[in-house]
Symmetry: D2
Subunit: 341 residues, 4 copies
């Protein structure tokens, strides 16, 4: 941590800052500059927050953190990438590029089972589908809840595809965990810390989506919430951030892939469906994600988008998904990874 003193701060103010730094358990080192002094506070500032409050002291202009505030998520603590095992033979973050596909919402047995069979056929390795839906409007379809979970389990039985499904309420964690192979935290819950803490106590992989206005550093702090409770199986997912551009639903932050790959050992997936909001934009974003070095994709697929209860306009039809997967395979091979099937 670097404390920048104001131009004209007094000797007494500087001395107070030094005393405070020592009181907080760090070592102060003053550098006397031409127009102002700066004080370095030596000590591991991760896992602490106290130094920030020095900003409130007399004579202090600002406080500049030097270390990243996360530990367990960082490459410094674990340099090699984490491969998260989902079920025996299926890992995310390793040699395989993993595609998760399925509808936004589970709507019926026919819908989920047909979709599951179709996406498996095309090479998807997991099935996604929402049973608890966080919708902007209280008047929109809110999901089938436990009935939806049961249908997902049926589709899994039929196809062998493990299930990714979202949990939105800490109260439902136990229920969803009975059915899910991966618990998903949606973009509106990236900083729902009560939920994250409970998921940190599960023995189950967590797919953590980035919130629309969450910086990469804050995203990793949310992962840290789960990791610090003991659950080390966290998969990150970039799904578009909110910007001024309205041609797309959100703006896919594709450079988050190499930034995250440098800063964390956790796997990184991309959700091009929510990022773009329009199905015709999805395939090219799938290819870009693979080329950028992502570990996999979450893609919305619906047998009949014009009948979907939610997110129809961004869902691929099974035939469109199949065509995309064929072309995707070639890009994945260039990256030195493989795809199933």
């Amino acid at each position: 941590m670097i404390i920048v003193m104001k131009n004209g701060a007094s000797q007494e103010e500087l001395a107070e800052v030094e005393k405070k730094i020592i009181a907080l358990g760090y070592q102060p080192h003053v550098i006397h500059g031409e127009t102002r002094n700066v004080v370095g506070a030596v000590g591991d500032e991760r896992g602490k927050e106290k130094l920030q409050i020095i900003e409130s002291m007399q004579g202090v202009e600002r406080v500049v953190p030097i270390l990243k505030p996360y530990k367990l998520a960082s490459r410094e603590v674990q340099p090699e990438p984490s491969e998260i095992e989902i079920v025996p033979g299926l890992g995310i973050g390793g040699k395989e590029f993993v595609v998760v596909a399925g509808p936004c919402s589970v709507e019926s047995q026919k819908q989920i089972c047909e979709t599951a069979e179709a996406v498996k056929q095309s090479g998807a390795r997991l099935l996604r589908g929402g049973a608890f839906k966080p919708r902007t409007s209280p008047y929109s379809f809110q999901g089938m809840e436990e009935d939806g979970l049961k249908l997902l389990a049926e589709a899994r039985k039929l196809t062998g595809l493990p299930i990714v499904t979202e949990v939105v309420n800490p109260r439902d964690v136990e229920l969803v965990a009975k059915y899910a192979d991966i618990m998903q935290v949606g973009a509106r819950n990236t900083q729902n810390f009560a939920l994250l803490k409970m998921l940190g106590q599960l023995d189950k992989p967590i797919l953590l989506k980035r919130g629309m206005a969450v910086t990469i550093q804050e995203f990793l702090m949310s992962a840290e919430y789960i990791l610090s409770e003991g659950n080390r199986r966290v998969i990150l997912c970039e799904r578009g951030i909110r910007t001024f551009e309205t041609a797309t639903r959100n703006t896919l932050d594709i450079s988050a892939v190499p930034v995250l790959k440098q800063q964390t050992h956790l796997p990184v997936m991309i959700d091009p469906s929510h990022a773009t909001g329009h199905s015709h934009l999805v395939p090219s974003m799938c290819y870009a994600a693979a080329a950028a070095g992502a570990d996999g994709l979450l893609v919305e697929v619906h047998p009949c988008p014009e009948e979907a209860s939610s997110d129809g306009p961004q869902s691929l039809r099974p035939a469109e998904f199949d065509a995309m997967m064929k072309k995707l395979r070639a890009f994945v091979e260039v990256t030195g990874r493989k795809m199933a099937g």
Copy 2:
């Protein structure tokens, strides 16, 4: 809802869209344009969502909603402003400009009681203080929980100031409601719909903060979640949105005040402390909020910011708060409202 057909869409595609509009319970009206056709779908689209899926049909370019998607929050349903009664003799949204003040976190009996007495002295009408803290870092102070609520109740007993405090977990709603006069939903939970639904079933005023990346329309949809469950006592609070500017913690969207005042009957408050993140910027934003027509303020005050467990740099000292309140009073009078004391 207006459906814009693609340039070159076929007669069959247009006929399918018309059929679908009828099937969804609306009346189609086609306008034949020079380069493309548009179809108006007549019928009250609020409280429905189905029409949006027409965007997935063949030949459709895009779907443009005409009505706002909220009902109970809108001025069309209730033209006159709502004054929310907190306790007998104290309403928000009426003739009085109401200031809520207090520390970010409750830290000790001495801290909260001293602050309560000081802010009351300066003219604050409610006491704020967090017992459950949603913090970006798992290593930061997470709040005193029920012990904090008890200290808030003690400060209320001492000063008579009603209490505003945050709830972050649906599990804690009942507990917090035992102590709070107003339940606060923080910016990270504006779209925590599970929480909103529970709060909609309480008989207790709710202070709903706007999320950092939540549009004004989405903000009103979140209010609609609470209203549609039966709780009509919702107070809105703008607290800064996330932009590219880094000189301030967030960017106070001051024009949200007149926009909200036009669209909704609900009261609108401003939180300049979280919006700016720096205590020296707070007073001028308090004056601007009053001048813009807000119904009140939430201001962070701490007896000793450099010892605060959270948000020290944005907290006013009691003397600074007192000076601000004196000047604020003159601005409030110009608006034709009054302040207590």
Copy 3:
């Protein structure tokens, strides 16, 4: 400037960085930390840029600037506020709160002269009107050019109001300077450095608008371009930044007022018309601007907005402007300033 070394950077890499710092004319001070070293480079870094390139050296994680990069615009160089004299008896940045009003574009003699008389009557001190219009579409009205300037001069003769008008092309600087009392740089030209340099050589006040995606620091750097060429009469104008919110044309960054007031001695005005884009939102933003401590306003007024060649929807009618000015006066008085008339 603080150079943060990578965790694990070698002694040689550190030595190279120290050597480079010395070569660039600074003094290096190394602080040995627990997980990494940081190096302070002592010396006045303003007006230089060289140190940033140390970021490309082996073993360097990042470079953190300590000083603001502007000099002449800063409060450190000139602590007292600048009052910019426009014509004898009229200054911006002093005791008077100054309102500039007029149409977006000059359209006819009748239009500009009627508007000038009306706004003068209501208390405006300068007349605005565009003769060169930077329009998003090449098919939109592009302004009356020199004919428009002549009409502005006629309106000035009639009313005595000095003229603010925009220049968009370095080629036209001389021409516009023949007519204008204040040269305006629009939001699309805030970083048109060729234009700024030419304006820096004029003996004429410059009204510099903030660009839609320009940070406050970059804004001051643009002012520095003008100041460093010798022209010290620069007036800053915040007119809304681009964010995700679509209810307003832009988002008025009202906290830019106290931030700028702290960092620079230059006067700060607000343009609520471009910031909001809707005339019914303008009055409350005028009041907020005065309360926040701005030095004045730019307000669009048109005798008949539904016939305006540009920006009709955000223009006040003369009667609306007059009503706003009456109420504004009371807010201005609270701030301790005065308004003409």
Copy 4:
């Protein structure tokens, strides 16, 4: 254009709107809705702007444009993609994926000639280098101006690589055109309409960069400025937009590639160097751009980034560039395109 009337607008107000629509040369079609009426105005609204002013009329809630405002840039006017010929045998937008490489600024004969030879060796097809530099700070290196252009011409003679270089001042258009094979418009000048109009009169390809806060629609309107003056050789370049994320210099809007490809026939390039600001993030963004369907890349390469006069931290060294190009070739082949060499 769709005009949405207010809930409760009178018959007279509706009639006035209809009359105005006719006066502006369109045909009105009223749809009577349950809570409000909407009026469709039939007629080609592109190349006009007048209808927007209806928003200022009594009883009107808002005006919704239906058509895109650009014509010459659109796919509707020209469905097949444009291949822009630079020199005989080299086109952008056709079968070849074209890489432009070189330093940010021209600094010396040695620097530019060595770089030109190195990037040509690796497969670059054009040389980039700035002689006129728009810098945020007036104290930063501003470019070698005509001397720089001469050095670029020398490097072209040596290697045969055509030159891309930026023009920032309308005054310099003629001068730069004497040397450049492609004239570049930088991100700060995307809406410098005076400059665009002059470039529209040249017989020379224009590389138009997207501004940091320019929407895709506005970007195409800027292209339309050039096209409508008669110059049809416009190449678009996405180079990152400004968002709240600070881990990268800007946020590469990769989905702009498929959006632009759908809306316009003009070629689309990507500049990953300015988008990310850090050289280690550049290669993965090059691969993503190719996979997303871009027509080419602009990449900053410098023989010694730690000595660069500008943008060192985002420049690849020649060996890094060479390694990137080798891997890039494999991704490009999957897209069905080819690279030179």
